[in-house]
Chain length 317, copies 2
Amino acid sequence: MAEPTDREACTPPQVVGLGLCTVDMVFVVPEAPRFSGLMHADAYLRQGGGPVPTALVALARLGIRTRFIGRVGDDPDGRFIGEELAAEGVDTSRLMIEPGSQSRVALVLVETQTGERGFTAREETCQPLLPTDLQPDDLAGARIVHLDDADPVSIQAARWARQAGQTVVFDGTWNHELLDEFLPWVDVPIVSEPFVAAWMPGATPQEVVRRLRGYGAHTAVYTLGSQGCVVATDDTITGFGAYALEAVDTTGAGDAFHGAFIYGLLQGWPITRIVDFAAATAALNCRGLGGRTALPHLAQVEAFLGQAGSLARYTLA
Amino acid sequence: MAEPTDREACTPPQVVGLGLCTVDMVFVVPEAPRFSGLMHADAYLRQGGGPVPTALVALARLGIRTRFIGRVGDDPDGRFIGEELAAEGVDTSRLMIEPGSQSRVALVLVETQTGERGFTAREETCQPLLPTDLQPDDLAGARIVHLDDADPVSIQAARWARQAGQTVVFDGTWNHELLDEFLPWVDVPIVSEPFVAAWMPGATPQEVVRRLRGYGAHTAVYTLGSQGCVVATDDTITGFGAYALEAVDTTGAGDAFHGAFIYGLLQGWPITRIVDFAAATAALNCRGLGGRTALPHLAQVEAFLGQAGSLARYTLA
């Protein structure tokens, strides 16, 4: 989309991500909209979304060079997605616009009192990324590749990343058919409750992270929202709490967690420090409406951790 | 907002309008959105709205030079309102941006099958236009001034217009408190059912247009949607039908009618030709989603009228 500047052309991104992107129209409303009359909204925000793009924005705010690879429609929403990422400093030179197609947009309703959320999506008509869209150069120089789906292009990207000695991080959400083919290439799977509900219904967190480790992952994470997360490394399984805080909107909390987790991996921190940092970033992001509004800068996370201290943790195995 | 080009600076607008402007987020959905789960939208459109701006876009499509005077918030929506009007050729040099404020945005839900519509507005925090915002030069050179509310700035504009020999057209919608002060300055009031429901509940169309003429209007119009309209001129009251057609979305039908009615006034046509032309423009505008998408060019209206012929009409007094 945007031409890289000389500096970007010479300095490869540290993290490259592939995946879905959307434009979210967030309306905070005291009652559900109906098909008649005039109602009132307390707040409104139009903002790009999608798990990987939002994680890359989290990384960009923390000072990391990132690139997003994806496809958008040939419409104002597609241009908005690219402009917003570029404004955050994410490299969008490999964001592809499909002529004549539409981008995915979503109406996000947030209930004023409870914060409950419902999504209404107008689906994209642009094609999903295909393996042929990807070139080895797209990932060159990165230390981490971040993926959101077990689809053919992600499998391609993960294989290339493994061959190049890059770390593959996976935000597990949708496609479950190709997981057996995909997971062996993943170094750090981070999965959430909707993923587990479809993949291993009724499983305990220990069973989930053990199974993920069984595919060869060196660190496996199961996030449980305000209940914290469970992390498996080597033969240790550790449970972590979460930072309590008055949330304005939990949209993007998971994506912020993934971005900050990747930040910690890049620093080579021990896992306990990585999880504290990721949980703090996610908590801070809940202070603003929308998935990206309150993504913190590094100093804000450090200040928060300086006050809040380490998360409670407990050994599970 | 935009600097006028030399041509614009030398050639005044033929029509100047003042009033409310919004950004509409239109979602066509088979079911009302809820606060949980993932639902589907059949179509989506983000488009500027508001009675006067949309009427000015209708006029611009018909080849008329127009200017919009209004105030928007200091946000992406305010910029979008200005850019979209400018792209249509509407002069936005007097569109004011209020620092630190928000524009009005509206979620418009359209039911897929029935076309029923519900509105959820996030209100603007920018101030309404005030008489002190208006300068005599703002209206200079125009032949028609188009207003949407009986508020102090509209009264100011209507007085100046009358003094300058300009024709004042009024799209009656909201404020009823200052009508007695405002209506004496209006040459062509065009009111609709919601206006009448508040102003003269239970009145017949004849009573409505007679009362409007009583304030001094030379032509008074009461629009009744798909039922047509009733028009009073001199001592004649005439009812007109409407053009039947498969409507995609009736949003903006009234605004299109007003714009096209003003076009006919500029041409000096007889009232029957003006009403046919306005009804045809409104009908054509219902063929697209959103208030402005299907606003026709002059040749399209003429082609439609060549096929459809004159509206049915009947004398009421």
